[in-house]
Symmetry: C3
Subunit: 334 residues, 3 copies
Amino acid sequence: MKNFLHLPELDDTTLRDLLARARAIEKTPVSDALKGRVLGLVFLNPSLRTLSSFQAGMAQLGGSSFVITPGQGTWALEMQDGVVMDGATAEHVREAVPVLCQYADLLGVRCFAGGKDLALDLTEPVLGAFARHATKPLINMESAIDHPCQALADWKTLDDLEIPARGGRFTLSWAWHPKALPLAVPTAALSMAARRGMDVTVLRPEGYALPREVMALAHSEAARSGGSVRETSDRHEGLDGAHVLYAKSWQAPACYGDSEKEALLRAPLREWCVAEDWFRPAQKDAVFMHCLPVRRNVKVKDEVLDGPRSRVIRQAGNRLHAQKAVLLSLLGVR
Amino acid sequence: MKNFLHLPELDDTTLRDLLARARAIEKTPVSDALKGRVLGLVFLNPSLRTLSSFQAGMAQLGGSSFVITPGQGTWALEMQDGVVMDGATAEHVREAVPVLCQYADLLGVRCFAGGKDLALDLTEPVLGAFARHATKPLINMESAIDHPCQALADWKTLDDLEIPARGGRFTLSWAWHPKALPLAVPTAALSMAARRGMDVTVLRPEGYALPREVMALAHSEAARSGGSVRETSDRHEGLDGAHVLYAKSWQAPACYGDSEKEALLRAPLREWCVAEDWFRPAQKDAVFMHCLPVRRNVKVKDEVLDGPRSRVIRQAGNRLHAQKAVLLSLLGVR
Amino acid sequence: MKNFLHLPELDDTTLRDLLARARAIEKTPVSDALKGRVLGLVFLNPSLRTLSSFQAGMAQLGGSSFVITPGQGTWALEMQDGVVMDGATAEHVREAVPVLCQYADLLGVRCFAGGKDLALDLTEPVLGAFARHATKPLINMESAIDHPCQALADWKTLDDLEIPARGGRFTLSWAWHPKALPLAVPTAALSMAARRGMDVTVLRPEGYALPREVMALAHSEAARSGGSVRETSDRHEGLDGAHVLYAKSWQAPACYGDSEKEALLRAPLREWCVAEDWFRPAQKDAVFMHCLPVRRNVKVKDEVLDGPRSRVIRQAGNRLHAQKAVLLSLLGVR
């Protein structure tokens, strides 16, 4: 594994190896495996779990990390080629990335979607620029359209909970949120569950179908693994027999980049706040998952988050173990 | 010791042990005692000493730390239960704290007073929320109404200077400041000196008596140790025979949350700027203490800070030693 | 070597030793030489290379570092003596620096020019204040008028490239930039090349001659080493036979502190953007150097940065090796 950019790029052996390592690391979290190694973390967007778990993870493996936040203590970065840089950006990714790769043994980057142009965001322009110019292994710490660290942690969580891969029912449900949110986590969760071989349902209101490209990826991952993917806007149908309800908000692809129009479409959908009664058609012991941060009583009610179904803390805990497996693997440590 | 939240919660043995450890660590500052251990630092407010001394301390003990600053690189945190989170806060302390506790071996939090409602601040709402949801030891890095790391360092400073516990006279004096400041440091210094068994005087202008609850705590600490606590607004009386003048500004409790009214009350008090002549009634070699940061020539004159009485640098130095003792103790390292 | 503030302060033996160490460290980058040691980094201005390379460097040598950014997470610092601090600054450098020196084994500070008063900036008021109050070794991470870490890395780069010291031709060229920039890097690069014994030319448009004091320093460094320094505004003359074109923008000294007047002077000079055809009079294999960050197609064209002449990435890489040599030397590690 040269980089860790998208789960669908990994073959089954690599994926199985990462998950096995993550389980082993959970049992033996501290070592000197990465002594003298340095991880450079570039955050173009906010973070809590990613920032702290990558730093903690490197430290627990005997290594170290530094954090760069362009535009806040560091120059704003230009991503586009051929540009005359007489505006706000002071440094080009063509210099910044090779420079950081001389200081660090590997690099992580968080680069949310631009949110203006869906077709552009689907090409992963910023992650792509980092990947093109990196001379060391690169980790996607959430990009325009993917969040593979979350997906790997979620896969481990499903394994931990012994939720069946074949025959397990995974429902990704849209939820209301005061802002138009990116597509990275729903895309990652959906294709992860499909790749795990689960029967996946995307439950979302009219107008919130995920983009064709995202659904196509999920279908191809399902085909690879023997899983299935379907969509519905009917809550009962969407949760029928579900083992997992994975909630996330995302913006309507048809209004991408037009937040006013999107807000109008979203306005009547506040009832899309996950409550205990959503689970009626699901498996009796169905669990609730969410990547965090979550807005309480907006996307999901306290009764669910504080009740016995919630696995959100465990999901976040698995970020640490999964990412340590990625770090070791990228640095070629057996 | 499970957490380090408030000095008055600690029994004499624990306190004595922390001070002895701090002295020992000062002599042997570097070790591998905390190898592989990670400290998570959450700063809801600015810091210089705390931020740098906790990071340096962990590193010198062979461990590591990460820093989280909600609202600046990390989501703004919601502290209140039951809230519909459709405003500015994106993550609830109910998730954030348990998540961080999965990455770190212990947590520190800085959470200044809200400054609107004294009764509320006296209940330590934010520190309390962190403590309720923490699954690892928690350190109070200054809260609404206490600063135990400072208090422990100050106690060590008094010991270093061989200022008598029984019979030592400790004057906590109010000082002018352009802003209405919290009550954490005066509360911590006052109850620390009382607990040490000293004869403590609170010297403050009319209208600046500390809240009843704060004075009651100090009296109970004095009763526990054989010390005494009194109050005066007369400078000569307040400093008569003093071994220590500990200066700090704080807002008038009667105007709590009303900064305009408070500013009117404070306006005529600019002469409350500690000068060399304040020490006339004190012991000949009386010392000046302050927790820093200090506004020069506003709270205290250059002649005092740059003169032979000042111990402010030593106080800050003892933060490092005291906190390392706390870290070792909380992590059960003998 | 007690501090690392300005290259001209170092004698030849010290300089040669630093360069030899930097070469050795490049080959053996990881060690335990600074185990248990802590570097405090104070950033009063933004950074990418400095922030990341100092942290990575300490970690690779087995040590650790912490970062303080006054005004962003830490109190704004007062630099001036005797001031009544009732304004924006909450902590004086007279306290902050001795305090940090109790936590760290050495300190680095970045403090760009005030940019209002050239005569004042030439006295290095902030770096001077830090140096006066530091009780541990101090590193200049770019000050008002110098950038010795860059200069040392650039010297190593010239050595790596086997560009002759005696007889080597080094052209420091002004370049256009949308903002009035400080004099630190041109001063550092100029006096470094002169000290290395090179024949140095400052190529700049009318009105952009470097201040008398800066040129005097360069001349004295050249006299010390057998090099030479001259100035021209003629591009052909300036680059005739050059081995190195080192580009940098700086503000016109005559308009120092008057950005509107400076902008008028600068407006017609946009053609001062380094292009491949600039190299016609130079050596056939002449190289392009720049300290980064660089605004592409403003200071230099893509064709140069992406072409075979550019050594900017190597320069930045040498920051790491050079600074590690400085750290070891200041901490007395052989």
